[in-house]
């Protein structure tokens, strides 16, 4: 069931039920989800509602949690943050008393979730839903079923083996019993005819339904950031604070940086938050608050404020793509650009905070002026965004926080991989990562934030280094239907690329830099999706598919290709991930899988 009234239908309902039935928040571990969870925690703390937060890394882990660990929680309310809207949550759930609430930006919404009125409730905005097929279009109505099953019994005819969902099957079983008590006497012949007629109609209907479902499911895309959604809830409850707005900004920003939403949707969110930020950050206040936020047109250079100009530019995917920074010429070009900006080498290599004041002030303006000469547009490198000043701890850009949070994730990756192989097998170290992140995001300890800076820098450098090595070693190969790149099994940073977040970062940067560096005769590659293979440390391979560079709609068709390929060659994904553009399959299926994909995407 879809719920649009976030205060009246969602929050008050949760408040009413949570104390007695228990509230379990199961959160995904991407930046947006963690921000959303943190805001929600703040709200629940204010209302003194007991809850438990379980961070999970993938669908498999969620199912394990559900089936093994919450089995006694028969009446619990399970709140899914940023996962599960796009697959049938009830497909693996046995009991029918538990209630799922889903706040998720993954689209399209699974049709079974959308029409389950009792156990599944999806909180979303009207505009995010898209065109959901009507109930009549996708579910067989009861009256049809009744006749249908009577026919089946009397005539002992066909057995349909359609891949119907559970809902239909159970309904049918009930009808069958009912039907057996009915003693209808009619001429066999006319029944036969009418049955055939119905059968044909039914087949037509099913074909139509399949088509509708396929069309509906063709594109995967993302709706409103969940952090923003919960921030809106906070605002409606008049419980907003700078911390909450800041978390919503990080969530929204992460969606844009991960290419989940286009610039227009991003700007829409920014415009909404800007009003509230302005309201809560009036200049005239006498005491300086712990955190104040101000609007700013930010350069999209990773961690610029905590790094130096040269390295930040060198590791920016946009700059790297424009200047071809994977070869000698590219680096010369970057040096030339910096010279044009009027920055001496010594200043570029100095950490940004220590830079000459004049140079720093002129930096952004000069940057704008010089951009055009290098085939860059202002919108490529500038993004309307926000700056946070923490009392006594300097300024942080929303953009930087994205890298810092991912960096914090990376710290735990390293620690865990040193510990034991067993923890490594513990799918994605989710719990431990998120533990630190949830602390980090409460923003209470600015030390934690500062500690994350070197980690953010390190992680980002490693990703960019890997991208450069892909390109300089010519590992990206183009087929007729997609681009393909594979991370070597012996890559020394492979442990980092076991997380969906880093895998998709790697894929995105690779595509951008690769495609923009191509000679013009190869322009057709701009229209091809990229598929990245990363060997999983346990067993099997991750495949991540991202849409073509020229496609700016932020809609992805790869997941349906993945789904179909798995149907065609009949493999079961080893591990189900939250993002449908990523799969984990057995290594031996690789060539079959890629061949099938080539045909499907052609």
């Amino acid at each position: 069931m879809l719920v649009h009234e976030i205060v009246n239908q969602f929050y008050s309902d949760i408040l009413k039920k949570a104390r007695e039935r228990g509230l379990i928040i199961v959160t995904a571990i991407d930046v947006d989800a963690l921000c959303a969870t943190t805001i929600l925690k703040t709200l629940l703390t204010i209302d003194q509602i007991p809850f438990s937060v379980y961070p999970v890394a993938n669908r498999h882990e969620f199912e394990v949690y559900y089936n093994e660990k919450f089995e006694n929680e028969e009446s619990a309310i399970i709140l899914c943050i940023n996962h599960s809207a796009d697959f049938d949550v009830l497909s693996t759930v046995m009991n029918d008393t538990v209630e799922f609430w889903i706040i998720d930006s993954h689209r399209p919404i699974n049709i079974n979730n959308a029409y389950n009125a009792k156990q599944v409730k999806i909180v979303c905005k009207h505009k995010d839903v898209g065109e959901i097929p009507t109930y009549q279009e996708v579910f067989e109505t009861e009256s049809d079923e009744e006749k249908d099953s009577n026919d089946e019994l009397d005539e002992g005819l066909e057995e349909d083996n359609d891949d119907e969902n559970d809902y239909d099957n159970s309904a049918k079983a009930g009808e069958k019993r009912k039907g057996s008590n009915m003693g209808e006497k009619a001429s066999k012949r006319s029944r036969m005819e009418s049955h055939l007629e119905k059968n044909i109609r039914k087949k037509e209907w099913r074909a139509k339904r399949d088509q509708i479902l396929m069309d509906y499911d063709e594109f995967s895309f993302f709706g409103t950031s969940v952090a923003l959604l919960i921030c809106e809830l906070a605002i409606k409850l008049s419980k907003e604070s700078n911390e909450i707005l800041w978390l919503a900004l990080i969530g929204l920003n992460s969606q844009y940086l991960e290419s989940k939403i286009d610039r227009d949707s991003y700007m829409e969110g920014i415009a909404y938050l800007k009003g509230h930020v302005g309201r809560l950050n009036r200049e005239c206040e006498e005491t300086e608050p712990n955190l104040s936020i101000s609007f700013s047109n930010e350069l999209i250079l990773p961690l610029l404020r905590h790094w130096n100009v040269y390295d930040s530019m060198y590791n920016s995917s946009t700059v790297a793509a424009a200047f071809c920074l994977y070869n000698h010429d590219g680096r010369n070009k970057l040096n030339g650009f910096l010279a044009d900006l009027g920055l001496p080498v010594s200043q570029c290599q100095k950490s940004f905070v220590a830079m000459d004041l004049n140079a720093k002030e002129n930096f952004e303006n000069e940057f704008r002026v010089q951009l055009n000469r290098y085939q860059l547009e202002e919108s490529d490198l500038f993004l309307p965004s926000f700056l946070a000043s923490f009392k006594m701890h300097g300024k942080f850009s929303v953009l930087d926080f994205y890298y810092l949070i991912n960096g914090s994730l990376y710290r735990d990756l390293k620690v865990n991989s040193e510990e034991t192989d067993e923890t490594l097998a513990h799918s994605f170290y989710a719990a431990n990562n998120a533990r630190n992140l949830l602390d980090f995001l409460t923003l209470k300890s600015t030390n934690l934030i500062k500690e994350a800076v070197p980690q953010g820098i390190e992680l980002h450098s490693i990703i960019m280094e890997t991208v450069r090595s892909f390109i300089s070693k010519a590992l990206v190969c183009g087929t007729s239907s997609f681009l393909y790149v594979s991370l070597p099994q012996d890559d020394k940073h492979i442990v980092l690329f076991q997380l969906p977040v880093t895998i998709s970062c790697l894929a995105r940067y690779t595509l951008e830099i690769y495609v923009r560096g191509l000679p013009s005769r190869n322009k057709r590659f701009r229209q091809l999706p990229l598929i990245l293979r990363v060997p999983c440390l346990n067993s099997g391979d991750y495949y991540c598919g991202i849409p073509p560079y020229d496609d700016t709609s932020c809609k992805n068709v790869i997941h349906s290709a993945f789904d179909q390929a798995s149907k065609v060659i009949g493999f079961e994904p080893l591990n189900k991930l939250f993002d449908r553009n990523m799969v984990l399959i057995r290594s031996e299926d690789r060539s079959k899988f890629l061949d099938t994909l080539a045909t499907l995407l052609a």
């Binding site: 408040l15 009413k16 104390r19």
Partner: protein, 219 residues
């Protein structure tokens, strides 16, 4: 809110004719004094028993009302606070008894049993404490010592509270002619009058009797 309060605190007008609020106030005072005085004070078992009863009463009342009301939340919170006061008070006493068990029991031995500082259960605890410690000494070292060293003079070795400790206090009722010995070499004596509402810092020994009667409260 008032009504609810009475409801939750029902059973308050029993034979002692103290309202729940008064009991709580008494408990708070006893808790403060006990926490701040260097020695163990008289037991306040009447207050404690009364409070215990009321806690149980309140708990039952809360359990009867099953709503997610804000009122219930406030009452629960209040209950937690009282429970903290109670346990904290008992805890402070037990820790003092642990430390000065022998000294306290000797002191109590000189008093009228009705005026004993220790409650029965505290006395039991103190006795066991002393006995166990002596056993420990005996088993680990004393029995291995030369014969003339094996005996113990309890009163000589037991630790005693430092009555010369300085304490802050507030005067609750006027007291005249308090003898203050100065802790200096020339041992001058001074007599002062304490007026209600005044606050002083002095050695505990001087105001010891006043603290017991409630003429001053430690702060």
């Amino acid at each position: 809110m008032e009504d609810e309060e009475d409801n939750i605190f029902s059973g308050s007008d029993d034979e002692e004719a103290m309202t729940a609020g008064e009991v709580l106030q008494k408990l708070e005072e006893a808790w403060m004094n006990e926490a701040l005085s260097p020695e163990l004070l008289m037991n306040k078992s009447d207050i404690i028993d009364c409070m215990m009863e009321q806690i149980n009463e309140m708990e039952n009342n809360i359990q009867r009302v099953k709503t997610n009301d804000l009122k219930i939340y406030i009452h629960k919170m209040e209950l937690e606070r009282i429970r903290y006061l109670l346990t904290s008070y008992l805890r402070i006493r037990i820790k003092k008894i642990e430390k000065y068990a022998t000294a306290i029991m000797m002191e109590d031995g000189k008093r009228d049993p009705d005026d004993a500082k220790l409650t029965d259960s505290e006395l039991q605890f103190a006795r066991e404490r002393e006995k166990n410690l002596l056993e420990l000494f005996q088993n680990l070292v004393l029995q291995h010592m030369p014969p003339n060293m094996q005996s113990l003079e309890k009163d000589k070795i037991c630790s005693k509270p430092n009555l010369d400790e300085y304490v802050f206090f507030r005067v609750n009722q006027d007291v005249e002619g308090v003898l203050v010995e100065e802790e200096t070499v020339d041992n001058r004596e001074e007599v002062i009058d304490l007026k209600k509402g005044e606050q002083h810092i002095m050695r505990y020994k001087i105001i010891r009797p006043l603290a017991e009667t409630g003429a001053v409260s430690l702060i």
